[in-house]
């Protein structure tokens, strides 16, 4: 039983670890990976806690997560496309760190 909470806590850990990487890592590919890890964390929490309804597992969170995985791959494809477009115009695939407002 408590294993479900363990998995949920790992989910929390993945979410916050991804958040940290999203903030501190400069390369866009790393940011995209970070968002994917955050997503996995949320999904893990959703499904793990759905296991608390014994004897039958609650499948509604599972259906939500399948929906979420599809959204995640769509968003990843879009993000990779944008990243490649960006690195065509300026090498390095990073966001201009210091956005001056008047550019």
């Amino acid at each position: 039983m408590s294993m479900l909470f363990f998995y949920a806590l790992i989910g929390v850990g993945l979410f916050t670890l991804g958040l940290l990487a999203l903030v501190v890592q400069p390369h866009l590919l790393q940011k995209i990976l970070a968002l994917n890890v955050m997503g996995s964390g949320v999904f893990l929490l959703l499904v793990a806690l759905g296991g608390r309804s014994q004897p039958v597992v609650d499948v509604v969170p599972q259906a939500m997560v399948i929906t979420g995985i599809v959204v995640a791959v769509s968003a990843t494809a879009m993000a990779l496309t944008l990243m490649l477009n960006l690195s065509r115009s300026s090498p390095g695939a990073q966001l201009p760190e210091d956005q001056s407002a008047d550019s």
């Binding site: 979410f15 958040l19 999203l22 866009l28 940011k31 968002l35 955050m38 997503g39 949320v42 929490l45 959703l46 806690l49 759905g50 608390r52 509604v60 969170p61 939500m64 929906t67 979420g68 959204v71 769509s74 968003a75 879009m78 993000a79 944008l82 990243m83 477009n85 960006l86 115009s89 300026s90 966001l95 201009p96 956005q99 407002a101 008047d102 550019s103």
Partner: protein, 487 residues
């Protein structure tokens, strides 16, 4: 005839119509523009139908799939939904017509299907009564908004769109984690059921924090506004209008609905005060930044940051100020949407006209584009909050509440924000009158692009004259009157 029409599920049509049109436009790229224009007019007509239905029979709800909550998903339309749907329809039709002049035929297949999907997402979002359904609509909305923001393909717009995409995905994930926690504590994703069950618990607070933070990021509340100015300023003008007028409002709409429905367990909390402080900072910061801008579109974008701040000023005021404050917020959402869309369309016209949008080089556009400059002036009146505009009514109600409760700080911030808004609006108008040292070669601007800007600006002013009936319409379902209970 009337008896039958009242039975029609207008709300469902509002979702299916733009979706079908988007698919048709995707299938037949050559006809995307005509399909889109037809859909836009039909959506406006459908919103009128829904409005008439609501005034006759009250709150509308629909049980999707025939499965009652908590198992199934329900749709719900009250006065607040209607207001947002109508705002989207009006701005949407105007922007659609405007865009026929703005985009070349080659860009049609890139613009129209995405814009129709965005419209479908907006309508579905305003009709949702289920937090997971809200998450799906939020994703559809965010991803289509990013796509539209990247449409010019310039270096600025691509990097702005990238930042926008990362921000919007982060916001959605925080929102999803929040509703996941709520579901696992309270066993439902239906707002009405949740509102009965949610109580003052650790999980409620965690969900409140995650959902508020995620939606504040999407709404671009200070200090989460970093993505907004570049994204809104580098997008094509009709897209900027849609993003500023509608897309940021959609996440605020969810925040407000959940705040009233779910998070009323903490009526007198510091969270509301904190949101108020961030809102106040946004008003000042956004206005000052707007004043400092060299480019017109950046100025208008920073003005959005400031105007979003006003929306959040309502949270501390509502603790004792009651329903009038929320009516003011709803009114502000409407009038800002109209005025801001008009301003971005004006910026698009000036850019097309002179080939740039540097404010100091506007070079007597007032004589050459009188309709456009008039639109900017009228929209500016509403943004500043001068009578008799819609913006005046909204800000007056807020100011009244602030003064009645002795919130002198908020009152002061609002006045200061108004003065700063006047300063940046008149800065633009001033340069529009004087000749610039660098003359520009003028390109003629199609009349419909000018008149659409003027139409929206005029409507923003007109909103000030119909306050009474509008308030009645917003009041359908009494969302704001009985704080704490969702019908």
């Amino acid at each position: 005839m009337g008896a039958q029409l009242i039975q029609v599920d207008w709300a469902v049509v509002l979702i299916m119509l733009p979706l079908s049109a988007a698919m048709l436009g995707f299938l037949l790229p050559g006809m995307a523009r005509n399909i889109g224009l037809l859909a836009a007019l039909l959506i406006l007509f459908t919103v009128v139908g829904l409005g008439w239905q609501l005034t006759q029979t009250g709150v509308y709800s629909h049980v999707a799939g025939g499965w009652l909550a908590p198992l199934g998903i329900q749709l719900h339309a009250d006065g607040f939904s209607l207001l947002m749907l109508a705002t989207s329809a009006i701005v949407g039709v105007a922007v659609s017509i405007y865009s026929t002049g703005y985009f070349k035929a080659a860009d049609d297949q890139r613009f129209w299907p995405t814009w129709l999907l965005l419209w479908a997402a907006l309508n579905a979002l305003f009709l949702a009564a289920d937090v997971f359904n809200l998450y799906v609509t939020l994703e559809l909305l965010g991803l289509s908004a990013v796509t539209l923001a990247s449409l010019t393909g310039s270096k600025d717009s691509v990097s702005a769109a990238m930042r926008y995409l990362l921000s919007t995905l982060l916001g959605s994930l925080a929102f999803l984690l929040g509703i996941g926690l709520l579901y696992h504590q309270y066993g439902s994703v239906d707002i009405a059921i949740l509102s009965e069950r949610v109580n003052d618990s650790t999980v409620s607070w965690a969900a409140l924090g995650l959902i508020t933070a995620g939606l504040a990021l999407k709404t671009a509340l200070f200090p989460f506004h970093f993505w907004l100015p570049p994204a809104h300023a580098s997008a094509p003008a009709p897209v900027s209008a849609l993003l500023s007028a509608l897309v940021v409002k959609a996440s605020f709409y969810i925040l407000l609905r959940l705040w009233l429905g779910l998070f009323d367990f903490q009526q007198d909390s510091t969270v509301a005060n904190m949101l108020g402080i961030l809102g106040a900072t946004a008003v000042l910061w956004g206005s000052i930044q707007a004043l400092r801008q060299i480019r017109l579109k950046m100025l208008v974008a920073y003005s959005t940051v400031a105007q979003i701040g006003y929306l959040f000023l309502a949270f501390p005021l509502a603790q004792t100020g009651g329903n009038r404050v929320w009516y003011a917020v709803a009114y502000l959402m409407l009038s800002h949407a109209l005025a801001k869309a008009a301003m971005f369309l004006v910026a698009g016209n000036m850019m097309l006209f002179g080939g740039h949008d540097r404010i100091v080089n506007l070079d007597r556009v007032v004589q050459r584009l009188p309709v456009t400059v008039a639109a900017f002036g009228l929209a500016g009146v509403s943004i500043m909050g001068l009578p008799p505009s819609g913006g005046f009514i909204a800000k007056w109600l807020l100011l009244e509440a602030a003064l009645a409760q002795g919130h002198w700080g908020i009152a002061g911030i609002m006045m200061l924000g108004g003065i700063l808004a006047a300063a940046y609006v008149f800065k633009v108008l001033g340069y529009a009158f004087i000749p610039s040292p660098v003359p520009h070669q003028a390109v003629s601007v199609p009349a419909r692009m000018q008149w659409m800007a003027l139409l929206l600006a005029t409507l923003a002013i007109m909103a000030g004259f119909v306050a009474q009936p509008l308030m009645q319409l917003i009041g359908i379902g009494a969302l704001f009157d009985s704080t704490g209970s969702m019908p």
